[in-house]
């Protein structure tokens, strides 16, 4: 398989994953904030094809869960009550990408079906995981976009104009590189308001994440601009009287495309992780809006850790995404076997 077709396949798989999360409302059976007070901390339901009398059914079904007698958090399957899983059912209203209002869900049942169990408020974990992906991935994507735009502007300015401007910008970049980025994230978040409504908190997190990481892409872009501006066709264009802005736009910045793309593939998972970290620690997107980070936050309590293992399941959600981005980054980087120190520090 050629490198190009591998790249296309990888990008297609990654794209499909993102589309799946964008259509979370369709894939998720319930509203992520809908509470079921009768079923707090219900374990994942098992799907059956064979009933108790040995009859085989084509349509999968689950047994309704009821509290075990004498306990307050242990459930048992009520085999007398089967819930057949129905597909393409009408359920809780949702919006796709914030515009298209729909009620259609991939699956559902006459009674609640919790494939991954529920949390302490009886909210369906699968639905929360899917909707949480929207928040986390969006934060990562916008954060990476922000960082790359800042990095591109600063790197291009430093490389193109050179002189004392270059010197000053690169010193500041070194300052940002020297700080441990998680501390930087914390420090910036520390001095911003703590209790804010979800939408504002989301924007705040995105801006903080985006503002922290610009130094590395800026240095890379600067290096490319430095070498690109000495290329013969650029000199020729300058000789014909091209202005600085035109030169940058038409001849120099296109040269940085590859580096910017590679950096994007490296930065997005890193920033998704940053959002998760902040939200996990309670500094990011607050309840009841789900995000991959705050879904894991309840595991900070010992009793949840000890009794309700399925609360850990959301941790697996980002694995396919991170795998996709890792492969994408290495494919974009090309065949060079030597990893660069610069890139390594992204992961340390």
């Amino acid at each position: 398989m050629s490198a190009r077709s591998r790249l296309v396949i990888c990008a297609a798989v990654l794209g499909a994953l993102h589309v799946a999360v964008a259509c979370a409302g369709f894939l998720a059976p319930y509203d992520p904030t809908a509470q079921d007070r009768e079923h707090p901390y219900a374990p994942p339901m098992r799907l059956h094809f064979v009933d108790t009398r040995g009859g085989v059914h084509l349509r999968p079904f689950a047994y309704a869960q009821g509290l075990r007698a004498g306990s307050f958090d242990e459930y048992e399957e009520n085999v007398a009550r089967a819930i057949p899983v129905r597909f393409f059912v009408s359920g809780a209203p949702y919006r796709v990408l914030g515009v298209l209002a729909l009620r259609l869900h991939l699956f559902g049942g006459d009674a609640p079906v919790y494939l991954l169990g529920t949390d302490g408020y009886g909210r369906d974990l699968l639905s929360r995981m899917l909707f949480g992906g929207q928040v986390s991935l969006l934060a990562g994507l916008i954060g990476a976009g922000l960082t790359l735009s800042i990095g591109l502007c600063i790197g291009a300015a430093a490389g193109f104009w050179g002189g004392w401007k270059d010197e000053v910008l690169m010193r500041v970049a070194e300052l940002f590189l020297a700080l441990p980025w998680i501390y930087l994230l914390f420090a910036m978040r520390a001095f911003l308001p703590l209790a804010v409504p979800p939408v504002k908190a989301f924007l705040l997190v995105v801006v903080v994440i985006g503002a922290v990481g610009w130094a590395r892409p800026a240095r890379m872009v600067r290096g490319i601009v430095l070498s690109a501006k000495e290329r013969n066709f650029v000199r020729a264009a300058r000789g014909f009287g091209a202005t600085g802005g035109y030169l940058l736009r038409r001849h120099i910045l296109p040269e940085t495309g590859n580096v910017v793309l590679t950096q994007a593939a490296v930065l997005v998972p890193q920033f998704v992780l940053a959002e998760m970290t902040l939200s996990f620690l309670g500094l990011g997107v607050p309840e009841p809006v789900p995000s991959w980070g705050n879904l894991l936050a309840s595991l900070q309590h010992y009793n949840v850790l000890a009794s309700y293992w399925w609360m850990y399941l959301p941790a697996f959600a980002m694995v396919p995404f991170f795998l996709g981005y890792l492969v994408l980054a290495s494919l974009l980087q090309g065949s060079s076997r030597t990893p660069k120190i610069e890139e390594a520090s992204n992961w340390v």
């Binding site: 010193r171 500041v172 070194e174 300052l175 020297a178 700080l179 441990p180 998680i182 501390y183 914390f186 420090a187 910036m188 978040r189 520390a190 001095f191 911003l192 308001p193 703590l194 992780l273 998760m276 970290t277 996990f280 620690l281 309670g282 500094l283 894991l296 595991l299 900070q300 010992y302 850790l305 000890a306 293992w309 850990y312 941790a315 697996f316 980002m318 694995v319 991170f322 795998l323 890792l326 076997r337 030597t338 990893p339 120190i341 390594a344 520090s345 992961w347 340390v348």
Partner: protein
């Protein structure tokens, strides 16, 4: 030599200055301070509050506060914690010691694992061992330390094999020395595992790449032709030739000693700098936050400086005054 050293030192000083200014600049953006919440407390009178505000000078302009703080810093005083009502420095020091115990062990382990594994992998490039190691590092790269730490905790709680969180058991003071060491070691297993697992893949990849590149050099083929044993060839010839990027990375891991384990400490409730700093952030305990950030920056800068010195010692090209990097 002197000029090289001085330039590096100047650079480090500039970085520390910049970080402290940056931290203070962020603090002016902050809405509210430690004493704002006290206004809601009916047991604290308005006079008492304004006396406190005056005492800690939170209402003075930021430039004045910065100047006073910087002067105090030069006298070895990191400021005063509002929440603990004691100087910051001793507080930070006890926490930093715990963090260093954790990260020092992890860093040592990671290098002891990465060097032989990386050399082994580079020697057998493309063979099953190398492929298996590459897959293992890829898996470790994908799983973030947050997920890994939580997963190990879930396993530990369910199996009951290892203590889950904290640094020592209840009643630690009454233990004999042997018991103390055993208890501490058991508590360290989980956090150290997570730290090693998150740092190992990056290191392993670099060692492998650097050694593989060195192995292609013709002087090594010549040495091989002279009949120098394989082991000696790998560790005495190839590894030093591959040292340059590894030394830079070593400086990196030295620098990350205080900052690398922050999240793991919070998840595993290790009483290090991480949870302490988080708590200070939530309480707006300004000088603790700035002190913590500055201390970890100091480590980073020192790590880089150490790497520079090591490079100077190890790489004759730098000593000869050739352009750096």
């Amino acid at each position: 030599m002197m000029r090289f050293l001085l330039r590096r030192l100047g650079h480090a000083a500039f970085l520390l200055l910049g970080v402290s200014v940056l931290a203070f600049a962020f603090s002016t953006l902050a809405p509210g301070n430690y004493f704002d919440e006290m206004r809601l407390n009916p047991q604290i009178s308005a006079e008492r509050l304004s006396a406190l505000r005056a005492k800690y000078q939170v209402d003075r302009p930021v430039a004045v506060r910065y100047e006073r703080w910087a002067v105090a810093l030069l006298h070895g005083d990191l400021g005063f914690s509002f929440a603990y009502n004691t100087p910051v420095a001793p507080l930070l020091w006890t926490r930093a010691r715990n963090t260093l115990l954790l990260t020092g062990t992890a860093t040592l382990l990671v290098w002891m694992l990465a060097l032989p594994l990386g050399v082994w992998s580079a020697e057998r490039l493309g063979r099953p061992v190398d492929v298996a190691l590459s897959w293992a590092t890829a898996v470790l790269l994908i799983v973030p330390d947050l997920a890994l730490a939580l997963g190990l905790l879930v396993l530990a709680v369910r199996s009951g094999w290892l203590p889950t969180g904290g640094m020592v058991s209840v009643g630690f003071e009454g233990f004999s020395l042997g018991q103390k060491i055993r208890d501490l070691a058991l508590h360290m297993v989980l956090p150290v595992t997570v730290l090693v697992a998150s740092a190992l893949p990056v290191l392993l990849r670099h060692v492998r790449a650097a050694v593989a590149e060195a192995l292609e050099a013709s002087f090594l083929r010549a040495a091989e032709g002279h009949g120098i044993p394989r082991w000696r060839l790998l560790y005495r010839y190839a590894l030093p030739a591959a040292a340059h990027p590894l030394i830079a990375l070593f400086g990196f891991s030295l620098g990350a000693l205080l900052s690398g384990s922050l999240l793991v400490e919070v998840v595993m409730s290790w009483p290090g700098l991480g949870p302490f700093l988080l708590e200070a952030i939530l309480a707006r305990d300004l000088y603790v936050v700035i002190g913590g950030v500055l201390l970890s920056t100091l480590f980073l800068v020192a790590g880089n400086f150490a790497a520079d010195l090591l490079l100077y010692w190890a790489d004759p090209r730098i000593r000869a005054g050739a352009p750096e990097r």
